[in-house]
């Protein structure tokens, strides 16, 4: 049993539970590729919802005017009165919003969903209009992420009770039908849960390292919905176990320390229910903990590690961020100007500048047919901030020769640069190379503190695979550019490569490969700064810098402050 997907029965049950209490459970994260299994689950959920409940599908990059609402320009212009249009969120009041490709949601967009889930209403303060609409709804986030870099923003998943990996191959089992769900929904308010249930859920979430207090609350509501589905008025063990499996187990970040086993438990065999309770737990707690253990996939620790790594990239809202935030954050307002091809009209501002003149213009022109008279001088254009963000890629030579020389000093200089990046809100990434190949210690992130930690922990020693490092930097720079950011490479090395691209050692092959990699990087147009850490700069270092088209700074002359000035100059170049 290595497959993490729950049985078809659990999937069917999850759909029914969500249909019983959509707003209470907040929704679900459905981890599955596009396919029949997912469609079947969504169809099941939709069928179980009350008749006429809204069902809206929203792309992850939906703009605010679609999400929240805004001015209805057509109606405003036609009637000459301010008309608002409701966005999809207030429109979905009492129903479900489905977000495909939810891993592409930005933090900012996730924040909007989170606010709606918290307050059950939508507040609009945009385009000169104010409105407040009720919006109690559930969100189904379809997580189609493939790599470790992509994750649905945790601020959203934290508020969605059910985290469901769907096996694309398996068929969905039978589950409660529409009438059963409707009856459960009606009875939900009367279902009681004992203190023991509460205690068991809290204890289990503590034992499995689940920090957010929302988790046990959501699990409790799930258990209640399960009891109601079963036609009971009391939450019993089976309900708690089901809730723990569907709500708590997927959130586990650590395994409880089992008393009779080795302290750091290796990947637990699923089904091994002998692990005792973490504390003086009640019987129910023991049962819940055992059930959760059984529900955890075999490779928990591996997924756990990737989840922690994922946090690094999720923290800056990487997936899908640039297009939308580029539009949102960098609009600097509007300015008057002639309309040219490619310029974008700021409609609201245009309307606003035309508004005061309407009476006079109408009187002057006698035109009563058109509700709003707009002239060329009213036109306002959107102004965007020209500068896009910068990502500083540090490629640091941690080879033996470098370590021998001045790795510590180089680290000091890099720390100073990191401080700079922090002040400028640049993103940073860290590539280290030693031994046979380069590796990305830190994917691009906006938290330089993490870079510092990585740097401090970076060991030294081994050969110098410089070509591989330059290639990797080029790949990273490419990726950053695709996301609309300006990459800047800071290469810190003593320029003594002795490993070729194919891993063979040898000074000559290493130097030749490094030069060819450098030429490729230069062709890609990445601005580069090379910090030569050799005790005495030699000809090859200069040659390499030349091939890179880099600014060349030998560290002997570069005290930390001078270095930071050079980087600043490289950035503005």
């Amino acid at each position: 049993m290595t497959e993490a997907a729950p049985s078809g029965g659990d999937a069917a049950m999850a759909a029914a539970l969500l249909a019983v209490d959509p707003t209470g459970l907040g929704g679900a994260v459905l981890r599955a590729p596009h396919g029949a299994a997912r469609d079947a689950w969504l169809a099941r959920l939709r069928g179980l919802l009350p008749a006429g409940a809204p069902w809206r599908r929203l792309p992850p990059n939906a703009p605010d005017d679609r999400l929240i609402g805004g001015i209805d320009l057509a109606a405003t212009l036609a009637t000459g009165r301010l008309r608002l249009e409701r966005g999809a969120l207030p429109d979905a009041d009492g129903g479900v919003v489905v977000i495909p490709m939810a891993e592409r949601l930005t933090q900012a967009a996730a924040g909007r969903y989170a606010a709606v889930l918290d307050t059950a209403e939508v507040t609009l303060e945009r385009d000169g209009a104010t409105a407040r609409w009720p919006a109690s709804l559930a969100v189904v986030a379809l997580d189609e992420s493939a790599g470790e870099d992509e994750r649905v923003p945790p601020s959203l998943t934290d508020r969605l009770a059910l985290h469901l990996p769907l096996d694309p191959g398996s068929a969905m089992g039978p589950g409660p039908d529409e009438s059963g769900v409707a009856a459960a929904r009606a009875a939900l308010g009367e279902v009681r849960a004992s203190d023991e249930v509460l205690l068991a859920l809290c204890e289990a979430s503590l034992a499995f390292g689940i920090g957010s207090p929302r988790a046990p609350t959501l699990a409790l509501r799930t258990a209640r919905a399960a009891a109601a589905l079963d036609g009971r008025r009391d939450v019993v063990e089976a309900d708690v176990v089901l809730a723990a499996r569907l709500v708590l187990a997927p959130r586990a970040t650590s395994l409880p320390a089992a008393p009779e086993e080795a302290p750091p438990p290796p990947a637990e065999e699923p089904g091994d229910a002998d692990g005792g309770p973490p504390k003086d737990g009640s019987d129910l707690s023991e049962i819940v903990v055992a059930a959760m253990r059984a529900a955890l996939p075999a490779g928990l620790l591996a997924t756990l590690a990737s989840a922690l790594r994922g946090r690094a990239s999720a923290a800056d809202g990487r997936s899908g961020a640039p297009v939308k935030d580029g539009q949102r954050g960098r609009v600097l307002g509007a300015r008057p100007g002639p309309l040219r091809a490619g310029s974008r009209i700021a409609l609201i501002e245009t309307l606003r500048s035309a508004a005061p003149w309407q009476t006079i213009r109408r009187r002057a022109s006698g035109d009563h047919a058109r509700p709003v008279l707009i002239r060329a001088e009213d036109i306002r254009l959107r102004r965007h901030e020209a500068r896009s963000g910068t990502t500083t890629l540090f490629a640091v030579d941690a080879s033996g020769s470098s370590a021998l020389h001045r790795l510590a000093e180089a680290k000091g200089a890099i720390e100073l640069l990191l401080g700079d990046c922090y002040a400028r809100r640049d993103r940073v990434a860290l590539v280290a190379f030693r031994g046979t190949e380069a590796s990305t210690l830190l994917p691009p992130t906006q938290a330089p503190a993490r870079a510092r930690r990585c740097l401090a922990a970076m060991p030294g020693g081994g050969a110098t695979p410089l070509a591989s490092a330059i290639d990797m930097a080029r790949a990273l720079a490419d990726a950053e550019r695709r996301q609309g950011r300006q990459p800047l490479l800071v290469l810190v090395t003593d320029a003594r490569p002795n490993v070729a691209r194919d891993g063979r050692t040898g000074r000559e092959a290493g130097e030749a490969d490094a030069l060819s990699a450098a030429a490729l990087l230069r062709a890609a147009g990445v601005s580069t700064l090379m910090v030569d850490t050799a005790p005495r700069p030699h000809a090859y270092g200069r040659a390499l810098a030349g091939a890179l088209g880099a600014r060349y700074v030998p560290l002997p002359q570069a005290d930390a402050a001078a270095l930071s000035t050079v980087v600043a100059a490289a950035r503005s170049a």
Partner: protein
């Protein structure tokens, strides 16, 4: 779908619609003393200058701020004033209140304005009222959220996700107490004194360093890790979700008691003496920590005075600095931005050194 006619300028001060349900009671929040204390102190003395709440998900940051709205006592305003001018403070009147001969007084709840994500600058600062301009060709100012928040609280959830130009605008106004509008041919200034409350989860994006020390108090909230507290959190939350009205009713006495204490503390605030010993201790503390400027000391003293008033004491003792030191100073330490050793620990160490363990 038919459009809905937007609100008119004259209605801008009143919240657009009644909230769908009563907020969670402030006094029912489990633990998180530092956060609730900071909010209460800001309610006692708005001059403390804003509260920043940073911390883990699900720790009740937003809940606490929204709960504060229901807790605060009503305030008197000049009836009909769009900015909610205080009849007792003529120096701070808006232009229209200054011209009035009779100023009828009305009682309204203290505004706690939620700045929704996605708010645009025109709605925050206020702008030309499009509707009035279109319909009557009149140039009328439509007050924004800053006007609505005057004399109350302005709350920004996920402050770290807010666009930089909006944050700058808010901080400027919060510092000057006045909103200056120069746009679309409108030139106007109006009072906008409010307590800025921001919350956020640092994991989701870091806060600009310049922004940090513009807040008077900064507190960190953490997920409770002991079982009893967590059970209580879940229990109360559950009780509230199932029957909000009954739950709020059961906390009514506690809410009323806290409200009375805040009212009394406000009245007493001016009388609380600040002896030299306390001033000196505050100065020594700030010097030991190397905080920039005097803002740290001022905030520390103000917070200690508000706490003394809240606890019914006559003067600020040296000991009173202890509970507020971390919130008032922790975010002002000149620090290496990459240094992760908690600033809290440094404050605690300095406090132990100067005030004794």
């Amino acid at each position: 779908m038919d459009g809905i006619v937007g609100s008119l300028a004259s209605e801008a001060r009143t919240a657009p619609a009644a909230p769908t349900r009563q907020p969670y009671p402030f006094t029912a929040i489990v633990g998180q003393e530092e956060m609730t204390r900071a909010l209460v102190l800001a309610a006692v003395d708005p001059g403390i200058g804003g509260v920043l709440i940073l911390g883990d998900r699900g720790t009740g940051k937003s809940t606490a701020v929204r709960a504060l709205a229901a807790l605060l006592p009503e305030m008197s305003v000049v009836a009909g004033c769009r900015f909610g001018c205080d009849p007792g403070a003529p120096a701070q009147f808006c232009e229209s209140c200054r011209e009035l001969r009779h100023r009828p007084v009305a009682k309204v709840p203290v505004p706690v304005v939620d700045l929704p994500l996605g708010a645009t600058e025109d709605r925050v600062a206020g702008a030309l009222d499009i509707e009035r301009a279109l319909v009557d060709g009149a140039k009328v100012f439509q007050p924004g959220l800053l006007a609505r928040a005057n004399r109350g609280f302005l709350y920004i959830d996920e402050v770290n996700l807010l666009e930089d130009h909006l944050v700058d605008l808010l901080l400027d106004v919060a510092a000057s107490g006045e909103n200056v509008v120069e746009r679309e041919g409108i030139s106007l200034r109006h009072p906008a004194r409010f307590v800025l409350v921001g919350s956020g989860n640092p994991e989701e994006g870091e806060l600009r360093p310049q922004l940090l020390d513009r807040f008077g108090l900064a507190v960190e909230v953490r997920t409770p890790t002991d079982l009893a507290t967590r059970v209580e959190v879940v229990r109360r939350r559950d009780a509230y979700d199932r029957a909000p009205a009954a739950f709020c009713e059961s906390w009514r006495t506690a809410e009323a008691r806290l409200r009375r204490r805040i009212v009394r503390a406000r009245a007493k605030l001016a009388e609380v003496a600040t002896p030299d010993a306390a001033l000196e201790a505050a100065a020594r503390l700030c010097m030991a920590l190397g905080t920039d400027g005097l803002r740290g000391e001022l905030t520390l003293i103000r917070a200690a005075r508000a706490l003394a008033a809240f606890e019914g004491r006559e003067s600020v003792t040296v000991e009173a600095l202890r509970p507020v030191a971390s919130a008032a100073l922790g975010h002002r330490l000149r620090r290496n931005p990459l240094d992760e050793a908690g600033s809290r620990a440094r404050v605690d160490r300095a406090v132990a050194e100067i005030l004794g363990p």
